[in-house]
């Protein structure tokens, strides 16, 4: 079983990397980009039967820093 964990900065947390990407997009002439936020995607290959709460535990204890980041788990049942 596979799962994906999306880690994003909380609203209101300044994202210097997102800002730099935004500037670079502007520099390339892409107009109409209002904002850019950069995050992380972590793919987990898990033993069958790993519960949602196990994955949440992994996120809280290591994968995300919940002081500044949110996480969202997506299970890929047939992967």
């Amino acid at each position: 079983m596979k799962a994906r964990v999306f880690i994003t900065l909380k609203n209101g947390v300044l994202d210097p990397q997102g800002k730099a990407i935004h500037h670079a997009l502007d520099g390339l002439g892409f107009k109409g980009v209002n904002d850019v936020r950069a995050g992380k995607l972590i793919e987990l290959d898990l033993a069958d039967g790993t519960s949602d709460s196990d994955i949440e535990d992994m996120c809280r204890k290591l994968l995300a820093n919940t002081v500044i980041e949110n996480f969202r788990i997506e299970r890929l049942e047939n992967a």
């Binding site: 300044l14 210097p16 990397q17 994968l63 820093n65 002081v67």
Partner: protein, 222 residues
């Protein structure tokens, strides 16, 4: 004073910290590898050094904060043993939950490596007793992820409880309220981005860092 310096894969200021501690205490610190489950008996000071532990993978300090030795460091900190985290060590202590907030990428994205002027905001702590309150000192910084952030309630609490130990006099990395170093609620854990261990003799260009270790020795030995 019997001190210990924690060593992670990727630490690179561990020896500088050991030299500073030996110079001040007259005793070589125990160098404790991250895989150890316990600290040597009788350790009464712990240093978590700068560097790039685990290559800064995931987040700076994230892996190191979960290594076996950090359980022993947390337990010792809980008993009141003084712990200092310098640069990457500060990042490790926030990731380990020993200090509030987080250290993010510098606001202007650049690696900052230069001496910076600081103000000692609280000279009553274990670590700052050799400084005057409000004294202006200079310590070098060398970091990419030194942008200290916490929510407003946490920042207000740090300020109100005298837990901001050092503040940048100029904008350095985007840190909230120009915070350079903070104390935990019992005052025995200090995290700071600048490197006191790099300015302990005149040949280093200054000795403002030396007094941190001297003050610490005086308070721990007292």
């Amino acid at each position: 004073m019997r001190s210990a310096v924690i060593v992670f894969p990727g630490s690179n200021c561990d020896r500088d910290l050991a030299v500073a501690l030996e110079q001040v205490t007259g005793r070589k610190p125990a160098m404790v590898w991250h895989k150890e489950n316990a600290l040597p008996d009788g350790v009464d000071f712990i240093g978590v050094p700068g560097g790039f532990s685990y290559g800064d993978y995931l987040r700076s300090g994230a892996m190191a904060a979960r290594s076996p030795v950090m359980r022993a460091v947390k337990e010792a900190a809980g008993r009141g043993v003084p712990v200092i985290g310098i640069c990457n060590g500060f990042q490790v202590l926030t990731e380990a939950g020993l200090l509030p907030g987080a250290l993010m990428r510098n606001a202007r994205l650049s690696f900052v490596c230069r001496p910076v002027p600081l103000r000692v905001e609280n000279s009553q702590s274990l670590f700052t007793s050799a400084y005057e309150n409000g004294e202006k000192i200079s310590l070098p910084v060398a970091h990419h992820d030194g942008n200290y952030q916490a929510d407003d309630a946490t920042l207000d609490r740090l300020e109100g409880e005298g837990r901001v130990a050092f503040r940048y006099l100029d904008e350095v990395n985007g840190s909230a309220r120009n915070i350079a170093g903070i104390l935990n609620d019992s005052g025995n854990v200090l995290g700071l981005m600048p490197h006191p261990e790099r300015v302990i003799e005149p040949a280093h260009g200054g000795t403002d860092g030396l007094r941190l270790f001297e003050g610490l020795l005086e308070t721990v030995a007292a």
